[in-house]
Every structure is written in structure tokens, then in C-alpha cells.
Amino acid sequence: MPRDGTGPAPVIPNPIQIKYYGNSSAPACYAPDMDSETRFLPRTDADQLLERLRVSGFPRILGPVARDGSLVFSPIHQWSQLPAGIRDMQTPGTYRLHRHADPLCFAWANGPQALKPLTFAGRELLWRAERHHETAAPVFEHAEDTPEPTAVLGIRACDLAALALQEKHFTHGRFPDPFFGRRRRSLFLIAVHCSHPASTCFCASTGDGPTVTRGHDLVLAELDEGYLISAGSRGGRRLLKDMALPPATAAQVQWAERASARATAAQMRHLPGRHLKQPIHDRLEARHWSRVGERCLSCGNCTAVCPTCFCHMELDEPALSGHRTEHLRQWSSCFNAEHSYMGHFLVRSDTRLRYRQWLTHKLAGWHEQYGRSGCVGCGRCITWCPVGIDITAEVAALLAEEIHAQPS
């Protein structure tokens, strides 16, 4: 038994033997959007950005804070609360923070969560009902939360790509989700170009990072001496204009571009393409699903930390009196029994089928539903899996299997 405790490792074929699927799947290296509007915010003046956010109507500012051994988004009031010098070391099933003697506040890849809990709450009230005191008929009342305008500082390209997918799921179509929508509209997003990907990152291969290209209000690139800052929305441009910062120099812009190129080149993992629907569907009966099933704990951590997973359950919590009840929604997972329960039987009774459901939906089914894969390459499912199951290794091992004749 291997000492790393993750069980028999999947056989990973030589990367050069992996066929690329789809025609736009070469790892992308974007040139940062460092146009003439790019300004320079000196590190010593960085609190000015927080002050400007507050006077612009965002009393609540969330930023990355090192707490309980990871980076979590928490309310911040000054720049000095940010994780200066902190690096994250991520490998399958392991996350550690280290401190370096430098002032960099964003020299890390990510923590267990970013935007998902802010827009799609882990648990929330949808409605309540009470029996009328005379007629005993139920009287319904919608939960009306009014989220406080919130600026979020330090999110990444993968987080923005995931938010765009969640927006597709929750707010498009005939029945947009009012809870998600209200919270999404309350957010002002200040992204940071990723400069220090973790070993678990593979956003370059999904096309979602490491450089921020869309979905942000403002975006920062971190230099030793301060931040290059540019806008991605009308609100961002207005705020940037009000700050009256000097333009960035050509040398600073060039330095940031090189940092982005390095962050792309540094990524150690990848998916073998962005259109894996057919090759995965061709392998629904592959032996590899059973091998993953032996290692997988079916605990649902991957789905909880996945920034695009949206499955939830609804439940009622009646008061003991029986006269009042609350109807709640909470995160659920395709690794739970209840997720596939219908008519007194479980459609997916074992882990093999549950892992297969997760992976095929994420990488294949989403193409039909949302026009792209559901994976943005953030690597959270790899790091936060208690037994370190690596989606990129599992896909590679799966696709290395010959296609079997499908049982009729």
C-alpha cells in the first residue's frame, strides 16, 4: 500500500500520447489587457482603493485573509489585513500556507472557496408559511434578503469563468433565480491576474486563465512596488477615473505580461482538450470507473469546492407547534444517495456510478446544457479531495482505455 495513502495510482499515459480533442484546446497564453487605461497604484497608497470603494457605495469589502490554514474571503478594512508574503502549497489532498519575507499579497493560487458561497449560499431560506390564526389556511411569505453592496478583492480568472457558468445556470431562461440574482448584482469584482499557480492548477488548458480577460469590474496585476490597475466595466472605469492615478509605465506593463506568461508556463496539470464529451461518453462502461470508485470516499468535497457545481436540495423545517414552517435550500451533491433517489430506489447506488455521474456531467453534459465544459481548471477538487483524487489524472487514465462496445 503506498505511503501517501491515496491507494493505487491511476496509470497515467505519457502526455505526448494523449490525443487532443477539439480544435481550440492548445493552452492559451493571453496578453493581459494592458491598454492605455492601465494605471499604477503604489503599494504605499493601496488603502486608497479600499477608501474609494467605500465612498462609491461598497461599505462591505471582502478580501483574502489567511485563517485556519487557508485563504478565505473575509471582511477587510485595510490593505494590511491581506496575506502579505503568504504562499499556498497545494498537492492532491494537501493544502499548506507558508510565509515569505516579501510584501506580495496575491502570490498564491486560491483557497477552498471564492465567489460561489457569495452568490449561491450554502444554506438559505426560500420561503416560510404560517397557518392563518382563524382559517388555519397556510399563508406564504417569500424570503426577501437585501444583500449589502459588496466589493470582492482578489478573485481569479477561474473564479470569474465559474461565475459566468453559474449565471448561465441560475439567471438565464424563463425562471431566473431571484436569490442568486440579487446577490450577484450586489457584487463589485476586483480580480487579480494569477502569477503563482499551484501544482493543482490547470486553467490554461481549459482556457479560463491565468490572466483575467472578462467578467471583472477592475483587475490588478501585482508588482513589488504596487499594482497595475485597469477596468473591465463601466463601474470600474468610473472608479478608476475618480482615483486619478498615474499611467503605468511601459516597463511595468511588460513586467506584468511576462508574469502572466510565466504563470501559464508554470502549470503542471492539464485536461487533454476542451471538448471531451464524445470520448467520455464512449467510455461509460470503462473499467476505470470502478478503479476510481475504490478510492473515492463519496464525501462530496469535490462538488462543494467546485465553483461551478450548483446541485442543491430543498427541505422543510417545521416548528414543533406544526403551525409554522420554513423551506430551505442547501448545497447537495451527486455523491449523496438522495440525489438519485426516485420511486423507492437509488439510480446511482454505488460510488462508481456517482463519480461517473459527476465527471460525465461536468465534462460532457455541460456542453449540451451550457455550451461549454463545466470545469474551469481551478484544481480545487484535486486539493480538497481528502484522498487526493486528481480529475486530470483520472480523465487521462479513462481516455487511455480502449473504447468498448456499449452494452445494448
Binding site: 500500500m1 503506498p2 505511503r3 501517501d4 495513502g5 491515496t6 491507494g7 485563517r67 485556519d68 490554514g69 487557508s70 478565505v72 489532498g93 494537501t94 493544502y95 499548506r96 477552498p112 472557496q113 458561497p117 450554502g122 444554506r123 475504490e294 478510492r295 473515492c296 470516499l297 463519496s298 464525501c299 462530496g300 468535497n301 462543494a304 469546492v305 427541505l315 423545517e317 417545521p318 416548528a319 414543533l320 407547534s321 406544526g322 442547501q330 448545497w331 447537495s332 451533491s333 449523496n336 444517495a337 438522495e338 447506488s349 454505488d350 460510488t351 456517482r354 486539493t383 480538497w384 481528502p386 484522498v387
Partner: protein
């Protein structure tokens, strides 16, 4: 007529009965919805009265208890076992691993062991009679117990949490203790219901709510081995509060050095 309920104690620490007593005002409200006909710890004593719901705390560890639980079953419409002792034998079921257990500990603990009458094993209620619903936990919470009562009063099936503790951790934004600190948290194989109490305070789950649905205890144990735990330590992770829940029993035995 109001439904009648009773609360019975077998071999246990009485902690699960506190789910009722600590409910405070809600206990008074419960008393307006049901007749509490037997609940020795709270006052009323009538152990043989027929009831609609009997809550049973504790495991069966004496001959007297083995007879008493069968009598109770005959006078009860729904029998609900409460907590680790009633659902899996509890901490005291650790003695089941030692064939000479009762003799050994009764001599070690008591000045006059000849007064101790005990079965060789401490076992779950469901090993003796049909149980209609099991509420897991050490101890169970007021929320679990009152939610089950409410559902039964509506004539609906009680909802039983059986997903893993990890999901409650993630919903609450609690950082994973296993991944960030490498400590042997049992959350990925343990049933939720506690609100992820221990991880919320930075310590590893020790499985007091028993195995969740579809637990992969073997993969969990291999991970503990990877974290540096010795076989004996892995055995003790599984053979603790819910040692005789089948999934934990089997995995713990697999790591016993003296396994036959």
C-alpha cells in the same frame, strides 16, 4: 386523544435524554402536543404503559435489559432508538472485543464484582427487536429528536440525515482540517447531524454520529495510513464510539495486528 410517548433508558450515560430536557420551553410545547407517560429522568414513571412512540436510549448489556426491551416492543407502536449506544452499542460495546471482557473489568472496577450481572456483550437495540427509526449521534440533538416527532405528528416519514460531515463543513465555510493540517478526520465517512461541531473548532471528527450512507472506510483508512497513523491507531479511529456500526467494525478489525 393526544399521542402518547415514552422515554426509556438502557445502558447509557443519560446524555441523549438531555435532547428533551435541554429543549427548555420547547419541552413544555411538546407536552401540549403529546402525553409524556414515562420519562423517569424528567418525572413521570409508568414503564409498561402502551405508547405511540417509545424513545430508547442505551444498549442492551444485561439479561434484565434484554427482557425489558422485548416487553417494550410489545406495547409500542413506533420504537425509535436514540444515540450511539442504542444504534450501535456505544462506547461500552468496546468490551465485546475481549472475550473475558466482563470478568476483567468488573474485577478491575468493583470491590464486590459478584454483584455485577452483565451479558458478555453490549449490543444495539435493533439486534434484539424491530426498530422503526434510528437517530444516530453521541449525543443526539434536540433538533433531530423534535424534527422526528414533528414529522410523525404530521403522519409523514421522518427525514434522516445520512450525508457526510464534510458537506456540512463546506456549507458552513469551515476549512478542512484533514487537508490543511493532515489530521485524521473521520468526516468523509461519518454521518452529518452534529453541524460539523468538531471541525468548527479546528479538531478532527471522531465519528460520533456513526457511518454515513455509502461510506468508503477502507479508502479512509488507507489515507490515515498515509498521514502516518499506525495500524493500531487506525483501528482505534474506527473502534471508538460507534465500534459496532458494521462499516466501522469491519474496517477497524482489518487494522488489528492480532486479527485472526
Amino acid at each position: 386523544m393526544k399521542p402518547r410517548i415514552s422515554v426509556h433508558k438502557f445502558s447509557s450515560c443519560d446524555g441523549c435524554q438531555l435532547a428533551f430536557i435541554n429543549a427548555g420551553e420547547a419541552l413544555l410545547e411538546l407536552a401540549t402536543l403529546v402525553d409524556i407517560v414515562h420519562f423517569a429522568e424528567a418525572g413521570p414513571v409508568d414503564p409498561d404503559a402502551p405508547v405511540d412512540i417509545a424513545f430508547v436510549e442505551g444498549s442492551i448489556s444485561t439479561q434484565d435489559e434484554a427482557l425489558r426491551i422485548r416487553r417494550l416492543r410489545e406495547t409500542t407502536r413506533y420504537l425509535i432508538s436514540l444515540g450511539a449506544c442504542a444504534t450501535a452499542g456505544g462506547l461500552q460495546a468496546l468490551r465485546n472485543f475481549n472475550a473475558r471482557g466482563v470478568e476483567d473489568w468488573s474485577h478491575a472496577v468493583y470491590a464486590r464484582p459478584e454483584f455485577i450481572e452483565s451479558l458478555d456483550t453490549a449490543t444495539a437495540i435493533a439486534r434484539h427487536v424491530k426498530v422503526d427509526l434510528e437517530l444516530w449521534g453521541c449525543p443526539v440533538s434536540t433538533r433531530q429528536v423534535f424534527a422526528a416527532i414533528r414529522r410523525l405528528l404530521y403522519g409523514a416519514l421522518p427525514f434522516v440525515d445520512n450525508e457526510k460531515v464534510c458537506q456540512e463543513c463546506k456549507r458552513r465555510g469551515i476549512t478542512c482540517t484533514l487537508v490543511t493540517r493532515g489530521i485524521p478526520c473521520l468526516g468523509p465517512v461519518t454521518r452529518t447531524g452534529c453541524g460539523a461541531l468538531c471541525p468548527a473548532f479546528g479538531r478532527d471528527c471522531y465519528g460520533c454520529f456513526g457511518p454515513g450512507e455509502n461510506p468508503n472506510a477502507a479508502a479512509m483508512a488507507r489515507r490515515f495510513q498515509g498521514l502516518g497513523l499506525l495500524p493500531e491507531e487506525i483501528n482505534r479511529r474506527f473502534h471508538f464510539i460507534n465500534s459496532h456500526a458494521p462499516d466501522f467494525l469491519e474496517e477497524g478489525l482489518a487494522w488489528r495486528e492480532d486479527r485472526p
